[in-house]
């Protein structure tokens, strides 16, 4: 019996022997079998070395079952989760930090937009306000502060403003002598520092005007035009019947009983040229009409036809002369 079992363990049984052993074991009391096996277990300590990976494999399964060390896959999973937990806030914080940093770098710049003489431009401010700039105009604002609590710009020249509505954030224009505060309106502003007056013509909404010299404030209604005298600091308000103030936007210069001197002056400014008039014509002669602001030849033709003048181009200037032969 023990001999057969021994042969079985060493895989040396013959078919007949196997049959005998099988019958014996099947009919034997389990405790008897166990007792024999126990003695072998206790007496034989040396066994062929099993595959190290097999033993590791068993150990890993044991560890998993008893709740120690995860399998490599679960371990990796855990690592990924921890990495995600750590990295997501880091990414968020760094994104916000860099975004703000770049933003402030951009925003801390003071921005100036200007047009040359005879040049026109369209621009949008960060709040959506549309501004059409006439020639020789300068707008300056700090992108950092603009649109935070107030929308503040400094201004000189002439421009048509279409201010985006935002009641919480007033729009303030500072010029040398005039301060304008609005919420959302459309108006034309002419405030050139070398002129004698500033003009504001309101199309829509309401504007508050402050004369900086007198610290005097008035409110302007739509359809009215206010003129500020720089010297006295006084406002004059009149109904804007002709609506001429912003015609420059449509490439037109409108004159109503304007002295020829002033007409020539306006043309010079508009086209950035020098014009001299060599004629007996009184320069105080009054002119009423519309002249294009985008085509110098056409503008000169209108003047020459009206006053029977000949046009000649000399260096750096345009000469208008009385036609001699009729």
């Amino acid at each position: 019996m023990e001999n057969l079992e021994d042969k079985y363990r060493k895989s040396r049984l013959t078919g007949n022997e196997l049959q005998t052993l099988r019958e014996q074991i099947n009919s034997e009391d389990e405790d008897t079998t166990a007792q024999r096996m126990y003695e072998i277990w206790m007496s034989e300590e040396r066994y062929a070395q099993a595959d190290a990976s097999d033993l590791k494999d068993i150990k890993q399964k044991v560890n998993m079952k008893i709740g120690f060390k995860k399998t490599p896959v679960q371990y990796l999973n855990l690592c990924l989760r921890i990495a995600a937990v750590i990295l997501i806030p880091v990414l968020l914080v760094s994104t916000i930090f860099l975004y703000n940093k770049v933003n402030t770098q951009l925003a801390s710049k003071e921005l100036t937009i200007s047009t040359g003489i005879g040049e026109k431009a369209q621009m949008s401010l960060p709040d959506g306000t549309q501004v059409s700039l006439n020639g020789g105009t300068k707008i300056h604002y700090s992108a950092d502060l603009f649109n935070k609590t107030v929308r503040q710009i400094t201004f000189e020249g002439e421009a048509y403003f279409n201010v985006a509505k935002n009641k919480k954030c007033p729009f303030i224009i500072n010029t040398q002598y005039l301060k304008i505060e609005v919420v959302g309106t459309k108006f034309n502003l002419l405030a050139r520092p070398h002129d004698k007056t500033a003009e504001i013509a309101l199309d829509e909404g309401i504007v508050n005007l402050t004369s900086i010299r007198l610290k005097k404030q008035i409110t302007l209604d739509p359809g009215y035009k206010a003129t500020l005298d720089y010297e006295t600091g006084q406002f004059t308000v009149a109904k804007d019947i002709m609506k001429q103030s912003s015609v420059w936007r449509h490439h037109q210069l409108i004159f109503t009983k304007t002295s020829l001197y002033n007409v020539i002056n306006t043309l010079e400014k508009n086209y950035n040229v020098k014009i001299s008039v060599d004629s007996d014509l009184s320069k105080e002669d009054l002119f009423t009409g519309t002249i294009t602001s985008s085509n110098l030849n056409e503008a000169l033709e209108i003047l020459s036809k009206t006053y029977h003048l000949s046009v000649s181009y000399e260096k750096n200037r345009i000469c208008l002369r009385q036609k001699t032969s009729m």
Binding site: L13, T33, Y38, M42, Q49, D54, I66
Partner: protein, 189 residues
Amino acid sequence: MISEEQLIIKLKSGSKPAFDALYKMYANRLYGYCLQYSKSAEDSKEIVQNVFIKLWINREKIMQDKSICSLLFTIAKHDLINAYKKRLNSPVYEDYVLYGDSVETSDDTSCIDYHIFVEQIKKSLKKLPATQQKIIHLSRFENMTNAEIAQRLNLSEQTVKNQLSLGLKELKTLLKFLLIVLWLLLVNK
């Protein structure tokens, strides 16, 4: 080197390193021992695994203070005897032993291992017709009688008998070739 006695004390108080050390001490011995009775790496792995899981779970109730050797056997006993009996009564194992007889080796070591034998049978089995495959599988691996197989597969007992003998004959031819090749490889090693 900590003595087994100290390891047991530590294990009882829940020390994982002590458990690991005891595993190192006994795992190979237990595995080799199980293999001799079960003849199957799969069964042996499962027994060793369960023994150590149970050892950890019941660590606080360990009465032995000198050595856990006999305790390991007590834990393994039931599964081990089952695996032993399963193998003794398995037709495939008998086939294996009979095959060993037929090879008639004077040299014990040249006889191939049982698990290699099973592997080869399974491989060869796939080359047989589907019905024969099923019948042989049920007969050899599931220990079913011809009558049981006939009932399971909805065939007459005679058909099962015929197909089984046909299939086994074919299988033996296939196996002989494979095993001779294997045997040659082993002898030449």
